[in-house]
């Protein structure tokens, strides 16, 4: 479904990715691991269409996405992808429910309908009681659950998660991870998780190890 073919990316003199190729199937849970500076986040950003690779191709359902114009890429990210960041990156001025409804509203859904769908997703992730609270009033675990709900609310094909439990303690992190993966499995949504934590990677169907911007020979892929 989602494929990287010989993708390379350089920042200044640093080669962040060197001809990386991989394929992610529908509903598959993939962990991208490796030490700091290995190119994990850059790979995720290339796959998510946030960053354009210098060479190589990124293909979604047989269609190259790295050559799309910015407006098409933005629309693709909004409709087909969801992103969970390490620190949630929710809008603190909005309530939890409004944060979850936001992607639907940007897809021009009716406000009442969007808020109702947001409430359903908050219930699925066991944070219904936080619906009317602002982000600053939530615990770290609650925030990440809201962030997961925001990433999943549009029914994306792929959810990208950048260190989704990195800001949480082990118990809170495990709960958030289970919530994300159980929901994704139930909906056949593929998940690409960037992590340096082996315990998080153990939840994935497959692990891709990166080192110095490449997948070393013999490493899991």
């Amino acid at each position: 479904m989602l494929e990287a073919r010989n993708v390379s990316k350089t920042y200044g003199r640093t080669k962040a990715l060197a001809e990386v190729s991989l394929e992610i199937a529908e509903g598959e849970i993939v962990a991208v691991t490796g030490p700091s500076g290995a190119g994990k986040s850059t790979l995720m950003h290339c796959l998510a269409g946030v960053v354009r690779p210098e060479s190589g191709e990124v293909v979604l359902d047989g269609r190259r996405i790295d050559t799309l114009v910015e407006a098409e890429l933005t629309a693709l990210r909004r409709e087909s992808f969801g992103i969970v960041f390490q620190f949630g990156e929710l809008v603190p001025e909005l309530t939890a429910a409004e944060n979850v409804a936001l992607p639907l509203l940007f897809n021009r859904r009716d406000r009442r309908e969007a808020m109702a769908t947001a409430a359903e997703w908050l219930a699925r992730l066991n944070v219904s009681d936080c619906a009317d609270q602002r982000i600053g009033e939530l615990s770290g675990g609650q925030r990440q659950r809201v962030a997961v709900a925001r990433a999943l609310v549009t029914g994306p094909r792929v959810v990208f998660a950048d260190e989704p439990t990195g800001s949480l303690d082990s118990t809170g992190g495990e709960q958030v991870l289970r919530a994300l993966l159980d929901t994704a499995r139930a909906d056949r949504t593929a998940v690409v998780m960037v992590t340096h934590d082996n315990r998080v990677a153990a939840y994935a169907d497959r692990e891709i190890v990166l080192r110095d911007g490449a997948v070393p020979a013999g490493a899991p892929r």
């Binding site: 986040s41 950003h45 998510a48 946030v50 960053v51 407006a71 933005t74 629309a75 693709l76 990210r77 909004r78 409709e79 992808f81 969801g82 992103i83 960041f85 390490q86 620190f87 990156e89 929710l90 809008v91 603190p92 001025e93 909005l94 409004e98 936001l102 992607p103 509203l105 940007f106 406000r111 600053g136 925001r150 990433a151 990195g166 800001s167």
Partner: protein
């Protein structure tokens, strides 16, 4: 303390140097205008006094811009505050450094402005120059002292106060007191015991100053009330986001728009007075002054917009990465400008007209009232348009805030 300040100044970053030049230039212009305004005031010549008043009014927005400019480069300054605390400075030392820096910059700028005035008015009155110098320096010190008050600097780092103070009841009390004094003066008119018509002038002047200060302070209430209403009625995500962002921090918007509000207030008042009394030439000068005041107001808004985008950059970058178009986020900025400037400008314009009508009700005619109302409407539109144009011009700043690097490294 001076030595510390000198060392810090040597290591100024580029944005800090821009801020320093902006503060000095603003203080210089304000000093020049105030000195000239005082020299023009003549109790026997209404036209000259009106021109002087116009110049004095122009100094207000410039002073507002100086205060706003003191908030520029806050990120660099906050890191510096934390480093100072780590080096053993007390919170009082940090505050004093801010005051010294603000006062020093204002003094340097004022000296240049005063020199400009003296050179161009060698035969004119000069006693006001040291007074204006002193006033501007004190204002700069207070501004520097207050610029960092939203920041708690500790040796371990710097945090912005999580809870931004909301509207305060005392803001409303000041505005209502001002309106009450104006109404009192209009009712009693020449019947004040002992002081007679001078009593009315005094009461009206004090009332106008209180109303002006009160309306500026109470803008927080207005903006928040309007934002709550706009948020409840929002049909688009841009409108919802804009309303909630404003609702969360109306005070910052009120501060930034105070300069626009002042320009609209005086613009509307000047139009109403023009309708009643004439003095077309003097009013034309006041209009030019107001136009320049709006430019200063726009500069103050740009500073605010830059500061707000720094605060919002992570949220906005995350939204952009999740597929929200830059155009939509630009739309949020424009809607914020409308939500905040519309109530402020409308109330400022109505207050400006009301003050003049109340003080000159005996000579007012229906036709003049129509002219005054039209002028109030135009000034409201001009104020809102200024805010919207600034929001549109902030697109490059927005683009910078949406860069992905913002989201890296926590």
């Amino acid at each position: 303390m001076i030595d510390v300040l000198r060392m810090l100044n040597r290591g100024r970053s580029r944005p800090e140097r821009v801020r320093a030049w902006l503060v000095m230039a603003g203080a210089g212009v304000a000093t020049f205008l105030l000195c000239t305004a005082v020299s023009l005031v003549d109790v026997r010549d209404d036209g000259a006094s009106l021109t002087g008043l116009g110049l004095a009014l122009l100094a207000l927005p410039v002073a507002g811009l100086v205060h706003q400019a003191n908030r520029l480069a806050s990120a660099t300054r906050e890191r510096r505050l934390a480093a100072l605390r780590l080096a053993g400075a007390t919170p009082g030392d940090v505050r004093r450094l801010g005051a010294l820096e603000g006062g020093g910059l204002a003094l340097a700028g004022s000296l240049a402005g005063a020199a400009g005035y003296v050179l161009t008015h060698l035969s004119g009155p000069l006693p006001q120059v040291p007074v204006v110098l002193l006033l501007m320096t004190a204002a700069g010190a207070v501004s520097g002292l207050r610029a960092g008050r939203q920041v708690i600097a500790s040796p371990l780092g710097v945090v912005r106060r999580a809870r931004v103070p909301g509207p305060r009841v005392r803001d409303l009390v000041v505005a209502v007191s001002g309106a009450a004094l104006i109404a009192w003066g209009a009712v009693v008119r020449a019947g004040f015991p002992i002081a007679g018509p001078y009593g009315m002038a005094l009461v009206m002047t004090v009332g106008m100053v209180l109303l002006l200060v009160g309306v500026t302070m109470a803008a927080t209430w207005l903006i928040r009330a309007y934002a709550v209403r706009a948020g409840a009625r929002a049909r688009s995500p841009e409108a919802l986001l804009a309303a909630r962002l404003v609702e969360a921090n109306p005070r910052a918007w009120a501060r930034a728009l105070s300069v626009v509000g002042l320009a609209v207030f005086f613009g509307a008042a000047s139009g109403a007075q023009q309708a009643a009394t004439g003095y077309w030439q003097a009013h034309a000068l006041v209009d030019v002054a107001l136009l320049l005041a709006l430019v200063a107001a726009a500069a103050a808004l740009v500073v605010h917009q830059a500061e707000e985008l720094i605060d919002l950059r992570r949220s906005f970058a995350a939204l952009a990465a999740a597929g929200v178009p830059e155009r939509s986020l630009g739309g949020v900025l424009v809607r914020q400008a409308v939500i905040t400037s519309l109530p402020v400008c409308a109330v400022a314009a109505v207050s400006g007209v009301a003050v003049v009508v109340a003080s000159a009700i005996d000579i007012y005619q229906v036709g003049w009232l129509g002219w005054a109302a039209g002028r109030a409407l135009v000034m409201t539109g001009v104020g809102v348009l200024t805010a919207v144009l600034v929001a549109l011009a902030a697109r490059p700043l927005l683009r910078g805030a949406l860069r992905l690097e913002t989201l890296r490294g926590g």
